[in-house]
C-alpha cells in the first residue's frame, strides 16, 4: 500500500458515513453539488480576507459535498448525463472562486506579482479541465498530467492550513502548465496515430 493510498482509505471512513446519511435522507446529488459550490464561495470570501485557517476549514466542508455527490448519485441510482454536466460546470465555479479570492487578497495588499501568478494559475487550472473535455470529444480518454482538480484542492487546503499559499500557487501554476502541455501532446499523438492507422 502506498502512502497516498493509505491517506485516501483513512479519509474514506468518515466519508462513507456521510454518504450513508445522504442516501438515507435521499438528498439529490445535484443539490449536494450546488451546496458545495455555495460553501466554496464562502471559502473564497475567507481567502479574500486573508483568513486562511477559516478558509481551509470551509474548504474541507465544501469538498466533502463535492466528493460525495457522485457516490450518492450511484447509491441512489440517480446517475444522469445532466448530473455529470452540472457537476463539471459547478466545479469550474468552485475552482475559479478560490482563485478570485486570492486575486482579491493580493490586489488589496498591492502585490501585482502574486495577482499575476494567481491569475495565470487560474487560467491553466481552467485549461486543464478544458483540454481534457475537448480532447475526449475527439479521442477516447485523455487522462494524463499530474495537476487535476483533487490535487489542486488538496494543495489549496495545505496552503491555507499551513499559511504557505504562495508556494502552493507556484506549484499549481507550474504543474498545470505541464498538465495542459501533456494533454495537447497526448491528443496530437493519439489523433496522428489514428490517422496513420486509417491511411
Amino acid at each position: 500500500m502506498t502512502f497516498t493510498g493509505l491517506v485516501g482509505q483513512v479519509c474514506m471512513l468518515p466519508l462513507r458515513l456521510i454518504i450513508g446519511v445522504c442516501v438515507a435522507l435521499r438528498i439529490h446529488p445535484n443539490i449536494l453539488t450546488f451546496v458545495g459550490v455555495l460553501i466554496n464561495f464562502a471559502a473564497a470570501w475567507a481567502l479574500g480576507l486573508g483568513k486562511f485557517t477559516t478558509a481551509g476549514m470551509i474548504m474541507v466542508v465544501a469538498n466533502i459535498f463535492d466528493f460525495i455527490d457522485g457516490k450518492v448519485a450511484v447509491e441512489l441510482k440517480a446517475v444522469s448525463a445532466f448530473g455529470g454536466f452540472w457537476d463539471s460546470v459547478i466545479d469550474r465555479f468552485s475552482d475559479i472562486s478560490l482563485f478570485i479570492g486570492l486575486i482579491f487578497l493580493y490586489s488589496q495588499l498591492g502585490r501585482t506579482d502574486y495577482v499575476m501568478i494567481a491569475a495565470l494559475a487560474m487560467m491553466f487550472a481552467i485549461m486543464t479541465s478544458y483540454t481534457r473535455a475537448r480532447a475526449e470529444s475527439l479521442i477516447r480518454k485523455c487522462k494524463v498530467g499530474f495537476m487535476e482538480r483533487p490535487e489542486r484542492i488538496v494543495l489549496f487546503m495545505i496552503g491555507a492550513f499551513t499559511n504557505r499559499m504562495a508556494a502552493v500557487l507556484w506549484v499549481i501554476l507550474v504543474l498545470s502548465v505541464f498538465t495542459v502541455a501533456d494533454r495537447i501532446i497526448y491528443t496530437y499523438r493519439e489523433l496522428r496515430d489514428t490517422q496513420e492507422a486509417l491511411a
Binding site: F52, R111, G145, T162
Partner: protein, 67 residues
C-alpha cells in the same frame, strides 16, 4: 552506460509527461517532492505576502526538541 546517463532525462520526462495513476509509488514521490517544496522553501525566497512564522517543518522540529 548510455542507459544510466539517460536515466535523469527519463525521470524528468516521466515527471513532466505524467501518465501514472494515483496511489502508485511514483505518485507518492511526486507528492513528497511537492510537500518538500511547499514546506521547506523559505517564504522570503518566494516573496510570500502572507506567510508568517517558521512553518510546519519548524513546528515539528520544535516539538521533537522540546523538553
Amino acid at each position: 552506460m548510455k542507459g544510466a546517463a539517460m536515466l535523469p532525462v527519463r525521470v524528468l520526462w516521466n515527471a513532466f509527461f505524467w501518465t501514472y495513476e494515483r496511489a502508485t509509488w511514483q505518485y507518492d514521490l511526486m507528492v513528497i517532492a511537492i510537500l518538500a517544496f511547499v514546506w521547506l522553501t523559505p517564504p522570503d525566497w518566494l516573496g510570500d505576502p502572507m506567510a508568517s512564522g517558521p512553518g510546519p517543518v519548524a513546528w515539528v522540529l520544535a516539538m521533537l526538541t522540546a523538553d
